[in-house]
Symmetry: C2
Subunit: 279 residues, 2 copies
Amino acid sequence: MATGRNHRPATTSRSRGIPEATVARLPLYLRALTALSERSVPTVSSEELANASGVNSAKLRKDFSYLGSYGTRGVGYDVEYLVYQISRELGLTQDWPVVIVGIGNLGAALANYGGFASRGFRVAALIDADPAMTGKSVAGMGVQHTDELEQIIDENGVSIGVISTPAGAAQQVCDRLVAAGITSILNFAPTVLSVPEGVDVRKVDLSIELQILAFHEQRKSGEEAPEEDTAPPAAPPADSVTTRRPEAPAESAVRAGAEAHDEHRTEGPDGDIPAVMPA
Amino acid sequence: MATGRNHRPATTSRSRGIPEATVARLPLYLRALTALSERSVPTVSSEELANASGVNSAKLRKDFSYLGSYGTRGVGYDVEYLVYQISRELGLTQDWPVVIVGIGNLGAALANYGGFASRGFRVAALIDADPAMTGKSVAGMGVQHTDELEQIIDENGVSIGVISTPAGAAQQVCDRLVAAGITSILNFAPTVLSVPEGVDVRKVDLSIELQILAFHEQRKSGEEAPEEDTAPPAAPPADSVTTRRPEAPAESAVRAGAEAHDEHRTEGPDGDIPAVMPA
DNA sequence: CATTGTGAACTGTTTCACAGCG
DNA sequence: CGCTGTGAAACAGTTCACAATG
């Protein structure tokens, strides 16, 4: 709702040729290859590389086949060469300035994250809405105020933004980022972002991951006889509203999935993804 | 290699009935529903809920159809009832103690993350290998030493572990967690974890996400004429080894994808996912 | 009669298995 | 001979479109 836009599937962009699923694995291969490269391993077979990347070799070969024929039959792949080809394919031969908006606990952790710098990414600025944060130094870098967001993006030619604000601020920040010219967003806030066509959003949500794990975990311990659809309570839906109350939760019993969703408080040790660094 | 195990696809467990893709979306629906619930909205149509969740309504309806018929034709879904059904399906009616291992910047941010507590998850312990961390208080909770890992897990009946150590320590920690009885792992370290059959691993990797964004970003600005396979340099693979050097990178030019991969230093302000909290 | 629930068509992804080749 | 590259088969996930229905 809020700033109402159209929802793009977030994983859109069937980027001519390479399947999305393959793109998502390229960084994995690249990581494994880089490790091999550092150990000066000259060549690697699809089987070995697949193991190191946690995929199976058929998939890996098919993935590479989309990039071209970079292997040698009977031998394997040249490590350096592949590193180069994949880097190029991913666009990592140039470097990408990024801004991080929302320097709370998480934002600060991201800013400190070395993986940023070591790959083709460079943190161009840390931005926070809290005037108390402005000027503070995080990860050896001054935090700048949201007011300067547009200028920072413009001057640095930033096209990738990371949002680590509380959920309530995320859409707003997103809108400003997009308006300022950003076309790729990595969202850590637990909200669905609406963006115009052409802007890519990827999300990382801790609690979603945990919930998925919980689902599987439950299956493991629960039903020892995993056969047949032992249909759940299967209670009939509402006949009147508000009177509805399944066989279970009394109003507030089920708290799962709760989101602050628009936390008003600007700080506090337990906000949804913290907005501001306490210290 | 390291502790060599078998690689499970990480997204295994075709958990009888509900497709994995659906499971991954349930938390999204739950979040949207919880927000509606808080605003005391009694019912919602598939269209509305789909919008709020960032998916399309056909998908949402199909997803729900796997859970059973919880809607009312001509009306929509009862919000409270659905919240309950999904929570139950996800196993969130019980609460899940989790341990966080590796209390660096990221680990601390995770510990502070409110989303944990508000859903069915409870941080049972914070664990770090650094004796200097032990006893320190993070997010109002004492950090305990790795030595106590097994005992903590056992005593609290923990089955979900979060790994936020540096990459080099992750497999080792993972092995101990698994040995101690943990069967679900959320891995923030940039490594492939090997786990025995029956253990679920989900990974969250910042730099992978960024690389995927970079890929799409590159496609946007690059090739304005996105037709025809303008085959890349297409350099021929090795004829001899080590002599191989494509038309591009001189030894260290391409740094993309670099991983510390076995960082020896136990601290420092810019290790791969920091190991220890500076302060 | 608006909206769900779902077969059927489709699109995307993985796996198989083997021909092709260095 | 070993390993890549890839068609073809199998499988998974999404979308369509409409009959069923409260």
